[in-house]
Amino acid sequence: MSPKATAIPRQPMREQPPLERIGNFEEVPLGYTEEQARVEAGRCLQCKKPKCIEGCPVAVDIPGFVALVHEGKFAEAARKIKETNVLPAVCGRVCPQETQCEELCVLGKKGESAAIGRLERFAADWERTQGLVERPRTAPPTGRRVAIIGSGPAGLTCAADLARLGHDVTVFEALHEMGGVLVYGIPEFRLPKKILREEIDALRDMGVKLETSAVIGKLATIDELVHEDGFDAVFVGTGAGLPHFMEIPGENLLGVYSANEFLTRANLMRAYSFGEAADTPIARGKRVMVVGGGNVAMDSARTARRLGAEKVVLAYRRSRDEMPARAEEIHHAEEEGIEFHLLTVPVELRGDEMGRVSSAVMQKMELGEPDDSGRRRPVPVEGSEYEEPIDVAIIAIGAGANPLISSTTAGLETNRRGYIVSDPETGATSIPGVYAGGDIVTGSATVIEAMGAGRRAAAAIHQHLMEVRRSTEARAEV
C-alpha cells in the first residue's frame, strides 16, 4: 500500500450550481477532466484481491480499467469495462455505487472509496467524444433468430451479446423509442438521451433489428413469434411497468399522477428536444407533493422543480437513512430545495369544485417494530395530521409486473406477485426456449442488475441454440 495514495482526497466532480440547473434540463454533474481522472485513478491501491469487483453485479475488472485510466490509456480503459458491461456511460451515471462496487472498496474503510463510477463514466465519455468507439466484431451468422421483448437495459444487453455471437436478433419495443426506463423514466439531467441513442445506434450497426410500437402479447404473442415467425428463442425483458397507487381517497383527482406518467410526459414525450415543439401537456404545479423515497421519487421531484414548481415536498414514510435512492440524488434533491417531509404519509387528497387536487392530509409516522424486511415498520402517530396545500401530487411508491406477456402466454410460470419465474443463472422460464430477466423477474431493481440478467440469459440462449443446432445436424447426418 502506498501511503501517498490514501493521502490524496477523493476528487470531486464539477457540477452545475443548484440555482442555475433548476432552470434547465441539462446534466447536473459535468464529469472529470483528464487530470482529475488520472489523480483519482491513482488513489486505487490495485488490490491483489479486489473487494470492489464483488460488489459489481457484472464483475467489471475495476483495478484493470482504473490502472489504464491512471496511465492515460482512456480508450483502452473503456474497452476493458466493456468486456463485461456494454453500457458504461450509463452505469457510471446511474449505478448506486455506494451500495455496490464502492461500498466494498478497501479505501472506504478508513476514508473515502475510490470514485469507481465517476471513472467509469469518464472513460466511456472520453472514448465516445473522441470518436474512438469500435464497432464490436460479430461472429459469422449462425442462422438462428432470437426475439427480444422490451428494450430496457436487460433487453439491450441480451441483444448485444447475442448479435456478437452471430445470431439474428430482433428487439420488439412497445413504445416509440428504444431504451425502457432509461428513456422514459430517468430524466435528461441525470442521463442525457444522446448517450443512449448512440448505444442504440451501435446495436443497429451490429445488425440488430429494432422494432418500435410493437406491443408483444397484442401485436403477436410469444407463441406466434416462435411458431409463425420462426424465432428460435425469446428473451422477455419487459420491466416492472405497472404503477402502484396508495389507495387513499382522492387519488383520481386531476393533477394526481403516477411517477411513470409524470416522467413519461416529461421525458419521453418531450423527447430530448427541450424547448422545441412537443405536443404533450403536463400540469405545471406551483406546489407539488411527491410520495416516495427512491430514485423515482427524486427524479419526479427534481423534474417538477425544473418545470417551475416553487415548492416541492417529498413525503417519505420512513426516515432518511432508509431512503432507497442513490445518495448522490438525495443530495442533489436537497441542494435543489426539495423539502423532505420524513416519517410522513398522505392519508387523503382533497380537491376543489373542479375536481383538481388542492391539498393533502398528511400524517406523521414513528418507527415501530422491524417488519419482514428487517426495517422498522412505520406506525401512524394519532392526532398528528396536518394539511399541505398542493396542486400536483406524484405517486412514486413503486411498480408491479405488467401482465401483458404473462396473460397472453400459456404455460409461463409467474409468482404470486405476477413476476415471471426464471432461473437466476440462465434466465430459463417454464417454457423451453423462452428466457426472462430484469425487473419483470426481480421486481424493480437496478440498471446493472437488469444488464447482468440480460447477459446471463444471452449466454444460456447461445448454448441452447448451439445444442439445438448440433442435435438437428446430428439427425440430418443419420
Binding site: 413519461t264 424547448g275 401482465p403
Partner: protein
C-alpha cells in the same frame, strides 16, 4: 408500413383513413384501438380500429379533427406515413348472441360502434342501431350501419335530419314501444353514454360503454387513463376501453378528460407552436 392508402372526408372535419399495417389488420378484434403519432414531438393519440381489409393489409380509422393533434393528423394525405402506429390495444369486445341488441353511436363515437355492431351481427344478434349527431351533415356511417342493423334510427340535435333530439329520446321511445332489447352498446360523448346508462339501468338492461379517457402509453404503464368502475380504479387502456355502463363513474371521467383544457386553450391562443410545458423547460 403505416402508409395512408386512402383518405376520405366523410363529414366536415371527419376523416376516414385506410392505413397499411397488415399485422394489425390481421390481429385486431372489435373494440380494440391503436395509438398513432404523426411527427417527432407529437402526442400519442388513441383511435379505435373501425375495420380492416385483410387483402389490402389495411386498418380503417375514423376521426374528427377536434384539437391540435387530430388536426395535425388531418393534414396528412395519401402516401404519407404515420410516424408510429401501435396496436391492437385494449380488450376486444365480449361478443355473444343476446337476441335483440341495440347499438348507439353519438357523433364520431359512431365510428367505434361500427366494428362492434358487425361482430354482434356476425354472432347472430338482431340489431337496432341509433345514431346521433348535432346536425344532418355530421351524421356518419348511416349506410354502413344500415347494412348491419335490421332497423336504424337517426337523431339530430337540431332536428335537421331524422328524429329531432337525442339518441336517448329514440331509445326511450323504443323501450316504451316494448322492443325486447337485451343488450345495449353505446359509444359517444360521455354525457350521452351516461344518459343511455341511466335509462337502461331502470330496466336492468345490460349496457356496455367504451370510455375515452386521456391516454399516454396505452400499455398499462402510466395509469393516466384510470377510470372508476364499480368503485374500483381500472386502467382503460388494458382493462377496457369497454366497461359496464351502470358501474362507471362518469363524473370523474368527464373531469379527468378536461385535465389539460386550460393548457390546451392557452396553447391554442398562442398559436400552433407554443405548447405548454415547454417554456418552463427552457
Amino acid at each position: 408500413m403505416n402508409e395512408i392508402i386512402a383518405k376520405e372526408e366523410i363529414a366536415p372535419d371527419t376523416y376516414r383513413y385506410q392505413i397499411y399495417h397488415p399485422r394489425i389488420a390481421q390481429k385486431r378484434k372489435a373494440g380494440q384501438f391503436v395509438i398513432v403519432r404523426t411527427h417527432d414531438g407529437g402526442e400519442r393519440v388513441p383511435l379505435t380500429i373501425v375495420g380492416s381489409d385483410l387483402t389490402a393489409g389495411t386498418v380503417t380509422l375514423i376521426f374528427q379533427a377536434v384539437g391540435h393533434s387530430t388536426r395535425e393528423l388531418a393534414q396528412l394525405g395519401v402516401g404519407d406515413r404515420l410516424l408510429d402506429l401501435a396496436g391492437p390495444l385494449g380488450q376486444a369486445t365480449h361478443i355473444e348472441n343476446y337476441g335483440r341488441a341495440c347499438v348507439i353511436g353519438g357523433g364520431y363515437g359512431t365510428a367505434p360502434v361500427l366494428p362492434i355492431a358487425a361482430a354482434l351481427g356476425d354472432a347472430g344478434n338482431d340489431l337496432i342501431g341509433i345514431i346521433g349527431a348535432r346536425t344532418k351533415e355530421l351524421v356518419i356511417l348511416e349506410q354502413e350501419l344500415g347494412d348491419i342493423c335490421s332497423r336504424l334510427e337517426v337523431a339530430t340535435d337540431d332536428g335537421s335530419y331524422g328524429h329531432p333530439g337525442f339518441v336517448t329520446d329514440v331509445l326511450q321511445a323504443l323501450l316504451d314501444e316494448g322492443e325486447p332489447i337485451a343488450f345495449v352498446l353505446a359509444v359517444g360523448p360521455s354525457p350521452m353514454m351516461r344518459a343511455v346508462a341511466n335509462l337502461t339501468k331502470q330496466r336492468a338492461i345490460r349496457t356496455m360503454v367504451s370510455l375515452n379517457p386521456l391516454m399516454v402509453d396505452g400499455t398499462g404503464m402510466c395509469g393516466g387513463c384510470r377510470v372508476e368502475v364499480g368503485g374500483e380504479t381500472k386502467f382503460a387502456c388494458v382493462d377496457g376501453p369497454e366497461f359496464d355502463g351502470h358501474q362507471v363513474n362518469f363524473d370523474l371521467l368527464m373531469k379527468r378528460q378536461g385535465t389539460y383544457k386550460p393548457e390546451e386553450q392557452e396553447a391554442a391562443a398562442h398559436g400552433p407552436h407554443c405548447r405548454i410545458g415547454l417554456d418552463a423547460a427552457r
